[in-house]
């Protein structure tokens, strides 16, 4: 039995190809059952996001070879379309890849944490569909743990990587907690709405929206519920004094927020700090306003600078993240290899117990006058001898299994445990059926 990986991602396939293999959560159980029934996989899980489609499956070599035809048959995509986009892996390669994905190393936005939730969801669906068992259970559990560990022990997931979250980071350094602060949006564009939403999600309370077309301002304000209020365009200079954070994103050809507007607003707001985010090009806010006391004007380049610095920080964390992943892969390999030794260990322990029981029985039959206590002592003695004799070979078997040594087979032969192999194969074929 081997662990197989087959997939494509934003790194290997354009969106036109990725969308053909995209599967929503409602279709995943069907695809998983198809993999089991048609491709003959014992275990299977599918990770399908907007940036990747990956199959993790456990099966024999023949099933592994059928994996690619699954894509053709289930998705009705010609094999030649996918040929150059697919990557494949087995055993440790597959585990390493999933650990990297869980750590955000393979993500479009380095270190993003959304992928961890998507992996959890893929695992949950596979479990509910009954296609995840011993190997995939352990693989996904370890991948999720690895993703969490990399984010705890390194800074791969730290720092804002979008204009919206960079604005929140800055606003928090000016105001502390954002609860109760007012946001004024100038221009009802998508970008300003998204930035304002990030601020509201972080605790900002009241949202004022000013737009040249009042209806659009009302529409956007309605998105923020009872805390959203539309403001007439001519009134925005007066409203500046009520706002703590101003987001400007209009298509005006020049500065619509003059330094004099800001100075007047500062006087009215008794010089409480004012944070102005200018994401328009050309700029909406006069940069001279930044020189006023307690006024902080950040334009799109400044915010992009914050994002770039954070990204550079994350990139610097890569060597540490890689070393965490490698240590997790090593642990996984030990567990994975040790699986091969487990039936042999169980058989050896069983054989030991059989011999002990038969010998104790024969001995006790020759000593009928023993009291109950003396009989218990004989049984304990036999158990102790069995334990001491088997301790070293069992430990050696476990270590041999973890390192992938051929000693497992040698010990199997030495203790005449060959039949366990056959039993094991029989169990596997039953499970597959």
């Amino acid at each position: 039995m081997q662990l197989y990986l087959l997939g494509l991602s934003h790194k290997t396939a354009p969106v036109e190809v990725r969308e053909k293999l995209a599967l929503g959560p409602e279709r995943l159980p069907e695809a998983l059952q198809f993999l089991r029934r048609v491709a003959g996989m014992q275990e299977a899980a599918i990770l399908s996001t907007c940036n990747r489609a990956e199959i993790y499956a456990v099966g024999d070599a023949a099933a592994g070879a059928r994996l690619e035809s699954f894509l053709e048959e289930f998705h009705h995509v010609p094999a030649r379309t996918l040929q150059d986009c697919l990557y494949r892996g087995h055993d440790a390669q597959s585990a390493r890849h999933l650990f990297r994905v869980a750590s955000g190393v393979e993500s479009l936005v380095l270190g993003e944490s959304e992928i961890l939730g998507q992996i959890k969801s893929a695992f949950e669906i596979a479990r509910q569909s009954g296609t995840s068992s011993k190997v995939l259970d352990e693989l996904f559990r370890r991948a999720i743990a690895c993703g969490k560990r990399t984010r705890t022990e390194s800074a791969i997931g730290r720092g804002a990587l979008s204009v919206g979250s960079a604005s929140v980071e800055l606003a928090k350094q000016i105001f502390g907690p954002l609860a109760g602060h007012t946001v004024l949006i100038l221009g009802a564009g998508k970008m300003s709405a998204r930035t304002a939403k990030t601020l509201v999600d972080s605790g900002a309370k009241c949202v004022l929206v000013a737009n040249r077309t009042f209806e659009k301002a009302e529409e956007l304000a309605a998105q923020f519920g009872p805390d959203g209020h539309a403001v007439k365009w001519e009134e925005f200079p007066q409203k500046l004094s009520e706002a703590d954070i101003v987001i400007a994103s209009t298509r005006a050809p020049g500065h619509i927020v003059k330094a004099s507007h800001v100075a007047e607003a500062m006087r009215k707001r008794r010089h409480r700090p004012l944070f102005l985010v200018d994401i328009a090009v050309p700029r909406d806010i006069d940069p001279q306003a930044h020189h006023l006391d307690n006024v902080f004007v950040y334009d799109i380049d400044d915010l992009q600078g914050v994002v770039n610095a954070n990204l550079a920080h994350r990139t610097l964390e890569l060597p540490q993240v890689e070393s965490i992943i490698e240590s997790e892969v090593e642990n996984w390999q030990k567990w994975y290899r040790a699986r091969a030794a487990q039936p042999v260990m169980a058989a050896l322990a069983r054989r030991g117990a059989q011999i002990r029981e038969s010998e104790v029985e024969a001995t006790l039959a020759q000593l009928p006058n023993l009291s109950e206590r003396e009989r218990e002592i004989v049984k304990a003695l036999a158990k102790s001898i069995e334990g001491k004799i088997l301790h070293a070979p069992l430990r050696h078997l476990r270590e041999a299994g973890e390192s992938g040594s051929s000693d497992v087979e040698a010990l199997q032969r030495a203790f005449k445990l060959e039949e366990t192999k056959n039993e094991n194969n029989h169990e596997n074929s039953e499970e597959a059926a």
């Binding site: 022990e153 800074a155 800055l170 350094q173 000016i174 008794r270 010089h271 006391d293 914050v306 540490q320």
Partner: protein
Amino acid sequence: MEFLARNENLFLTGAIVAYLVAMIGFWIQLFMRADDDSPRAERWHARAALWGRALLCLGVVTHAFSLVGQGSALLIVRAGFAGIFGWGLALAYLLCGPKLKRDSMGAFVTPVTLLAAFYSLTAEPLHSGARSDLLKMQWTPIHVTIIILAYVGLAFAFASALIYLIQETLLKRKKLTGLWQRLPSLQVADDLIYRATVFGSALLVLGLLTGVAGMAQQPGYQPMRDPKVLVSMFSWFPFALYLIARWWLGWRGRSTNLVVIYGFLILVISFLGAPHVISGQ
């Protein structure tokens, strides 16, 4: 008691060493690897801050032995006053620091503590002989306690104002390195400055009044001709200016917080220079 009195200088020297190492710990926590915000660096910074706090605790305990050893005379000797102030400031930081949830304040408070303790070790006890009769007056401990609390409050305002200025400069220059995230937000620093200044300046007035009330019991005393009263009023003026600007004009931010910094420096200069003014040097 006798043992403490005999070894007061030794205890004070020990406290100074502890304060110095604590200060280095807090500086390492704040300024070293400022660009690194990884969990590794965070653990490293947390360890440095922990060492800083532990040594500050040790300094406070050792310093307390020294103060007890100095006896009640330290209440009227300038060097003694500086010693109690430094000790009180360190103790206040240890008590309030966890509530502020910012170790960064330690980097600004410990140097003031260290300088005060160092001054108390090296300064000449200028008035110990001349004004020993003050000890007999009941109001002296009350007056000194109030003034020390006022100084501690204003020292906190000074430290917060320094933090505010650094944070504001980073935000204005758009130099958003690791240091800016380790400092409190502008709003938090501004609130601290305001509260500490209100507390400190109110107690400074109260201390001045208790001082004048006590001295007024002496026949022929005229407060407005007492250089000590005049110097105290002069050093109180910048804080009054700050509060007036904030209450009536609504000013806040860089320039008003600079007034607090100048105010504390004037307070220190007045404290060091008052004896010379009084003795007519």
